[in-house]
């Protein structure tokens, strides 16, 4: 499998770091990436075959443009020689300009849409975020008649739990969560590695952990034998206590920094998404990836059209284009995630098709994996509170009155100084 080069991954992680850094930084990163769409994929000579040319050339002369908001490093950009610049190909074929920007987390996408001020035509959130957005009426139904290529989507990815009637989303990629480990430091057979290794005191300060509550709680919940979609307050508290126990052995809570820290050997163990893990593995041959047999989270990222999209039909055309076998293959070959696209799957090398990391057997998926669904507001809030509490647990027993008392002391000091100055001023006069 050919994946992106080391250098690109570096830039990618640098970019995603800056994306993580909040509004100001994120905006500038967005801005710099928008330019990407204007590059042309000239290096790629092979002509693209699409089934229905007329379908794509409908808007050729209308000068339309669409705004696509996707995860970082989640599309084939043509940066490697011989790969396809998907967005440029789309523009070449349809005459529709693509403004392509990226985000680092589902929550970034959510808050950006929620705050308004940005209009997107195509977004690619994950499962639980899709069900949350459906519930909050942030995405609109997709007209599948406009997406003939939906026929390629594998049967078991249709009508998923997060979108039971398949009205709002078209699956793009999927994958599982597993553990990346450094084989030079951890000399264990693959079968013996399970989630509890992330709690192992022998590896104190060499363990990285997810810096988002949903993924982190899922790991603790699997270890406790709970469902990863549990809303039971007691179970959430037990899971949070597990995470608190883990804190003393964790080096850092990170997301995209895992790329850097694992490939440089700064840490030995980290849970991460299978597709990204394969990319990291390409960079450092000492690393290995295992999907724990006690179970894991199966995630699906799917294309949606948010409410307020200005070019719905062009957006559907883009989604259909992403489901063209050649395009779907180019993307999946580039980003190393697993595909729900039957034709693209057929085009993969045989050793990839049978790779237990990318494509575990149906029995395994059936028995050991669960897809996230959106939690109730109460459960979400509780998880969030527990998570913040866990992360700031060191000085847990500080009195909650310290700040008010401190404020009162400040006010007292201020009044004291004022009075003193007043008296002194009076003295000066005489």
């Amino acid at each position: 499998m050919r994946c992106k080069s080391f250098f690109e991954a570096l830039t990618a992680s640098a970019l995603s770091v800056s994306l993580l850094c909040g509004c100001g930084a994120a905006d500038s990163a967005d801005g710099s990436e928008t330019a990407e769409s204007s590059e042309t994929g000239e290096a790629y000579e092979q002509t693209l075959t699409v089934e229905d040319m007329d379908y794509y050339t409908r808007f050729k002369d209308d000068g339309l443009s669409i705004n696509v908001y996707n995860w970082g490093e989640y599309i084939s950009t043509g940066a490697d020689e011989g790969t396809l610049n998907v967005n440029a190909e789309f523009t070449k074929l349809t005459g529709i300009k693509v403004n392509y920007t990226t985000y680092a987390a589902n929550e970034d996408l959510y808050s950006k849409l929620k705050n308004g001020g940005a209009s997107y035509d195509v977004i690619i959130p994950s499962d639980y975020m899709i069900s949350k957005m459906i519930k909050e009426e942030m995405v609109q139904p997709i007209d599948l008649d406009n997406i003939p290529n939906f026929k390629y989507i594998m049967e078991n990815f249709r009508n998923p739990a997060y979108d039971p009637e398949n009205l709002y989303s078209v699956p793009y990629t999927w994958g599982t969560v597993g553990i990346i480990y450094n084989t030079t430091q951890i000399d264990l057979p693959e079968e013996e590695i399970d989630w509890d290794i992330l709690w192992n005191e022998d590896y104190t300060d060499q363990i990285l952990m997810f810096d988002n509550p949903r993924d982190a709680f899922a790991i603790a919940e699997i270890m406790q034998g709970f469902s990863i979609n549990t809303e039971d307050p007691d179970q959430l508290v037990i899971a949070a206590n597990r995470l608190k126990e883990q804190k003393s052995v964790v080096q850092a809570y990170v997301m995209d920094e895992i790329f850097d820290k694992m490939s440089s050997g700064d840490a030995w163990l980290a849970p991460y998404y299978a597709g990204d893990a394969l990319t990291i593995l390409e960079e450092n041959e000492d690393l290995a990836f295992v999907v724990p047999k006690s179970g894991t989270n199966l995630f699906v990222d799917a294309m949606c059209i948010p409410v307020g999209a200005k070019q719905k039909e062009a957006a559907e055309m883009y989604i259909n284009f992403m489901c063209e076998p050649d395009i779907a293959y180019a993307n999946i070959d580039y980003i190393c995630y697993s595909t729900p696209h039957s034709a693209a799957f057929e085009m993969l090398d045989e050793d990839v098709q049978t790779d237990p990391v990318s494509y575990p057997s149906d029995e395994y998926l059936e028995a050991n994996t669960t897809v996230f669904v959106n939690l109730s507001d109460e459960a979400n809030r509780q998880m969030q509170t527990l998570w913040t509490e866990m992360k700031s647990a060191e000085a847990e027993n500080t009195n909650r009155w310290i700040v008010p008392v401190f404020l009162i002391l400040c006010v007292a000091a201020m009044i004291g100084i004022l009075i003193r100055r007043h008296i002194r001023n009076k003295k000066d006069i005489f």
Partner: protein, 269 residues
């Protein structure tokens, strides 16, 4: 004078639109719930994050004090140099600021990392595994490194105005070195000290990216907490606004106390 006043109107509009209105919005959000009804819950809930507040204030104070200790002698030496040397030296102080803030902080991750530059060098001498990254010390270091110029510049601009003859007079009249320092230089540079402290303390207390990158996500500061409410997975702008409001009040109080030391109306010489 009156005609000059007209030039201030654009700024007045700017202030109202981009400073007063957002502030009012923060206040509004802090005191309302999702449905827009009045509530004090968010302000009351801030109490559960006391430890984060305490840690933020504490780390910011340490960073400010270290900045002051480093910057004060440096600024004094700078102000006593020959004019053309001063320009060069100031440029060197400013130089790191030309680089992107994130990049500067990111560099420290590589320097302090477990397999980073310092640990590799120490490794040659048989010392290994010094844990530097992901500690509170690393966070303070990041603050000092990034905000030091903001302490040096105001100190320098005040000290450069201290006339050489004042120092010579003190010397002439038999004042010792320490006497000159504490009875002449320090009192004259108080405005620089207060504005330097303000310019370091305020960004240090509300930073979130330094603690994220150098603190490993387990040294949560108020900035991180607020960021989580607005951009992160917590997404609760009302609580976020409540925390921001409390933080603003704390900063305001601390700053007011600071300004009491400013000899604004009392002329010392």
């Amino acid at each position: 004078m009156k005609s000059l006043r007209a030039f201030a109107y654009p700024y007045l509009v700017w202030m109202v639109v981009f400073i007063a209105v957002p502030l009012l919005m923060v206040v509004y959000f802090a005191f309302t719930d999702e449905n827009g009804a009045f509530t004090l819950d968010h302000i009351a809930n801030v109490g559960q994050y006391t430890n984060i507040f305490v840690r933020s204030i504490w780390l910011a104070i340490i960073a400010t004090v270290i900045c002051l200790i480093i910057a004060y002698p440096l600024a004094f030496l700078l102000s006593r140099m020959k004019k053309h040397h001063q320009g060069t030296m100031l440029m060197i102080v400013m130089l790191p600021m030309w680089m992107n803030f994130l990049l500067r902080t990111r560099a420290w991750v590589t320097i302090l990392g477990n397999t980073g530059v310092i640990n590799t060098i120490l490794g040659f001498f048989g010392i290994d595994g010094v844990k530097m990254i992901n500690t509170e010390g690393a966070v303070v270091l990041g603050m000092v490194y990034n905000y030091l110029p903001y302490m040096i510049l105001p100190l320098y601009s005040v000290m450069v105005k201290i006339d050489k003859s004042v120092l010579e007079a003190a010397d002439d009249l038999g004042c010792s070195f320490w006497g000159t320092l504490f009875r002449v230089v320090v009192p004259l540079s108080v405005p620089g000290i207060t504005s330097g402290i303000t310019m370091v303390f305020v960004p240090a207390i509300s930073t979130f990216i330094i603690s994220r990158m150098l603190g490993g996500g387990s040294n949560l500061l108020i900035g991180d907490l607020i960021e989580m409410q607005f951009l992160g997975n917590a997404y609760n702008p009302h609580l976020g606004a409540g925390i921001s409001l409390v933080l603003m009040v704390i900063i305001l109080l601390i700053m007011t106390i600071m300004n009491q030391f400013d000899p604004d109306d009392q002329v010392l010489i």
